[in-house]
């Protein structure tokens, strides 16, 4: 006879609930801190602020996204707790000055990379391997990279000497491309049924190209600003569009506990905001190089 399967546990619900409350508190603290700071005149300070804000938003997005998606996966593998936990820690380190910060950021960098490995393994072992079905519906290949990016931005904010803006700009550009690719894949899965679904696959790649060029050309840095502002705006508009997407699913928000999982992911688009803020912070330094 087949082995009996235990009832699904409530463990995930507790984890997500606690994570949510902690996240809300930390967002408040981070926002307060950022708001208190005046617009820095020093380009180095601007870069640090941008990278820190970018790391904060990326880690918040990863916290919520991996929290919700791993909850959907019933935290079947205990390793699924690692991503949201570390994202929470990374978020914390962006808000407070702490000696542990470099270690946490480095851990985020490593765990994000390991996550890509885990997700690849998950896809590869399924029937069909790396076919569209599994790229659509199995563990998302690119998502864990956002945690790496949060760690990297955090480290870069702390070590302006090593991570000069001209070196970070291409990384941010690559990150924008990767995020646009993921949005493209998932919007393709949704058959681009709403024309707005084309937005994240058009503007961010353009912003990415110009941001990459900014590392060698100060003129490009000036062009990059409006494009990056637009990309940041997409990161804010995304969750609003996705809330509408949830509404268009069976039962909509009346059936939120199911449709937040089945509908478009609310915390995914802010990744654009995080990367764009980091890149915007780099611009004053890049513009001045000329």
């Amino acid at each position: 006879m087949p082995k009996p399967v235990p009832e699904p546990s409530r463990r995930p619900l507790i984890a997500v609930g606690l994570g949510g409350i902690a996240a809300a508190g930390l967002i408040g603290a981070a926002a307060w801190k950022l708001w208190r700071r005046a617009e820095p005149a020093d380009p180095g300070k601007a870069a640090e602020r941008g990278l820190r804000a970018g790391a904060a938003i990326l880690s918040l997005a990863v916290l919520l996204d991996s929290g919700i998606e791993h909850y959907r996966g019933e935290f079947k593998n205990p390793a699924m707790f690692v991503a949201p936990t570390l994202a929470l820690a990374t978020l914390g380190m962006t808000a407070v000055e702490d000696e542990a910060a470099p270690y946490v950021f480095s851990a985020a960098l490593a765990v994000g990379a390991a996550g890509v490995g885990f997700h690849s393994y998950n896809i590869g072992k399924r029937a069909g391997g790396f076919d569209m079905l599994n790229l659509f519906y199995a563990a998302p290949l690119g998502a864990p990279a956002a945690l790496s990016l949060a760690g990297l931005f955090g480290l870069a904010a702390e070590h302006p000497g090593i991570a000069a803006p001209a070196r970070i700009a291409p990384v941010a550009a690559l990150a924008l491309l990767g995020t646009a690719a993921e949005a493209g894949l998932l919007h393709f899965r949704g058959a681009f049924q709403n024309p707005f679904m084309f937005a994240p696959v058009t503007l961010p790649p353009l912003a990415a190209a110009v941001t990459a060029a900014s590392s060698v050309s100060p003129e490009a840095a000036q062009v990059a600003r409006p494009l990056l502002l637009g990309t940041a705006l997409l990161g804010i508009a995304g969750p609003i569009f996705h809330s509408y997407g949830i509404h268009r699913n069976m039962g909509g928000w009346h059936n939120w506990s199911q449709m937040i999982l089945q509908g478009p992911p609310l915390p995914a688009p802010p990744a654009f905001l995080g990367i764009a803020l980091a890149a915007l912070g780099l611009l004053p330094a890049l513009e001045r190089r000329g």
Binding site: P2, K3, V5, R126, A127, G128, D131, M132, L133, F136, Y137, F188, R189, G190, A191, Q193, N194, G245, R248, N249, M250, Q258, Q262
Partner: protein, 547 residues
């Protein structure tokens, strides 16, 4: 749901709004004495689709259905027994060496026809099947080529927003499906694993249920009640696609209206139909009559409409009406897996293989078959087990394996044979109409195909990790009975569905099929309906319609 059965809903200038609970849409209504361009008998894959096409082309259309006009959001309960009302369960006589069990999966009664409870598999015909006699050496050629029907396959797929795989392994290179494939459930993955282990292709199936929002319809929530009515409108049945289109374009849908007879004039042309609504016989005048009642009711109506000019039934000068009835053989193989499967989650058939439709190597039979994963609901499952002879404690014991069982089901081609047919019995139904007698026997070739299919399914299921395999047998779709052809002596209708004998009498449903193919027929029926709609509009433009 009961008021829909007792009282017509589509009348007095309005019809149910299938997308909003309790709401109505305006519907143009015609008087019986008003001669409409087209009276269509049946509103399923053939009739409902054609009604939209003709109304949109500017014709006045009244489409009749013997069954109710359901409101999917309100009427379709999550209750298998209650959903029996979706079937055509009027009395029929079924005989032959292999009598077909009539009345559930091969019938539909209600606006939208059997698409209301079909499993939504939307596959195209293998191109060679249109010329199976000349290219493959069996069956019959169609009076159409795949290339002629291809744009209409595309039109039907677009109209239903078919959610299909990005790459489909078989058939001619095709345009991308309008929507993407659905995630495959665990029983589909058992088939996938099995196919990969024995080295044949598999694919997520293209399905007529939404994987993304579409207007007022939500994406599929994988409720799993697809073999019954879909209460979420994700299923793109004719009831929620072509029927609303038809009504918006000015067609009238007449529910609970059983057409009993096609009225003929002295000039040998149809003049309209007699139908029974609310217990009264009435007559609707029409310039053209289209019969779309599927493989049993279409021949039955033609035969029941015999008159002095056509004593053997309409369009039956050559005696072919009702003959060459085909079904799909549907043996099933089941097995137990160690892991949890819960095959009842999501649409029942999510993955399949058409390997033996497209590869003719090593076959000891003509024809092809596909097989799919399946996912019976509890009552269906219990009945399947009881049919194995299990009862009492043994049945209960076996039922506990529900969550760990996976099954495969065949869609096997059968040969067109003249003696497999629909005739009229002497018994009469509640309307006083002679009931159909259906005779069916498999050919030797059909039996070899079934045996081959059974072995393949065993192989795949075992390779997929299942053990303690066991078999069932069933049949599914019906086809043929008014076959289309190039030669008036050898067919009932031409390639446009127009009967050879009566120029203003048409057929538009699965009874047109000259052979049965090894895939579910609905998409081909809808492609034919789209084509017939366009052809009629073209003929009207050229003044050839009222010849």
């Amino acid at each position: 749901m009961f008021d829909a059965i007792d009282q017509p809903r589509a009348q007095d200038g309005r019809a149910p709004d299938v997308f909003r609970p309790g709401a109505w849409v305006q519907m143009r209504c015609y008087d019986d004495s008003e001669q409409v361009d087209f009276a269509i008998v049946g509103t399923g894959a053939g009739g409902g689709t054609l009604a939209a096409k003709l109304a949109e082309a500017g014709f006045s259309v009244v489409a009749f259905d013997a069954g109710p006009f359901w409101r999917p959001l309100e009427d379709f309960a999550s209750d298998e027994a209650a959903q029996g009302d979706l079937y055509w369960t009027d009395e029929r006589i079924s005989g032959g060496a292999d009598p077909i069990q009539l009345g559930s999966n091969n019938s539909g009664r209600g606006v939208g026809g059997s698409t209301v409870h079909y499993t939504m598999i939307a596959l195209r015909w293998r191109p060679d099947w249109f010329k199976s006699r000349s290219k493959l050496g069996y069956g019959r050629d169609w009076p159409l080529s795949f290339e002629e029907l291809e744009p209409y396959y595309e039109e039907a797929e677009e109209s239903l927003k078919i959610s299909g795989p990005v790459r489909y392994p078989w058939g001619k290179r095709r345009k991308r499906y309008p929507y993407r494939e659905h995630p495959v459930n665990a029983s589909g993955l058992v088939l996938a694993r099995g196919c990969e282990r024995i080295g044949i292709d598999w694919s997520p199936l293209p399905l007529a249920t939404l994987s993304a929002p579409r207007g007022m319809a939500h994406p599929c929530v994988y409720r799993g009640f697809c073999k019954y009515g879909c209460s979420t409108n994700a299923k793109q049945s004719v009831l929620v696609t072509f029927v609303p289109r038809a009504i918006a374009a000015g067609a009238e849908i007449r529910d609970l209206a059983m057409v009993g007879r096609i009225e003929m004039g002295k000039d040998g042309r149809a003049t309209g139909v007699s139908y029974n609504r609310r217990g009264k016989w009435r007559q609707q005048k029409a310039r053209h009559v289209v019969v779309a009642g599927y493989a049993i009711e279409t021949p039955r109506l033609l035969l029941n409409s015999a008159c002095p000019e056509f004593p053997d039934g309409l369009a039956n000068d050559n005696g072919l009406v009702g003959t060459h009835l085909m079904t799909h053989s549907g043996p099933g193989v089941w097995g137990v897996l160690d892991e949890e499967i819960r095959s009842y989650k999501a649409p029942p058939c999510m993955a399949g293989t058409e390997h033996w439709n497209y590869s003719d190597e090593g076959k000891d039979f003509h024809g092809g078959y596909a097989f799919m994963s399946q996912g019976p609901l509890p009552t269906d499952w219990a009945q399947t087990l009881a049919a194995r002879g299990l009862w009492g404690a043994a049945l209960r014991q076996e039922m506990t394996r529900y969550n760990h069982t996976a099954g495969l089901v065949l869609v096997g081609e059968t040969e067109p044979q003249a003696h497999n047919r629909v005739e009229l019995a002497d018994e009469k139904d509640q309307y006083g109409l002679r009931i159909p007698r259906v005779t069916f026997s498999y050919s030797e070739n059909d039996r070899r195909l079934i045996e081959h299919g059974r072995k393949s399914m065993h192989q795949v299921l075992a390779a997929g990790g299942a053990h303690q395999l066991w078999d069932t047998h069933d049949t599914s779709h019906l086809m043929g009975g008014c076959r289309m052809g190039d030669d008036p002596k050898d067919s009932v209708v031409d390639a446009d569905g127009r009967t050879w004998a009566i120029p203003n009498l048409w057929v538009c449903d699965g009874s047109l099929f000259p052979n049965s193919g090894g895939v579910n027929p609905s998409l081909t029926i809808q492609a034919l309906a789209c084509r017939i709609g366009d052809r009629i509009a073209e003929m009207a433009k050229r003044g050839e319609l009222d010849r």
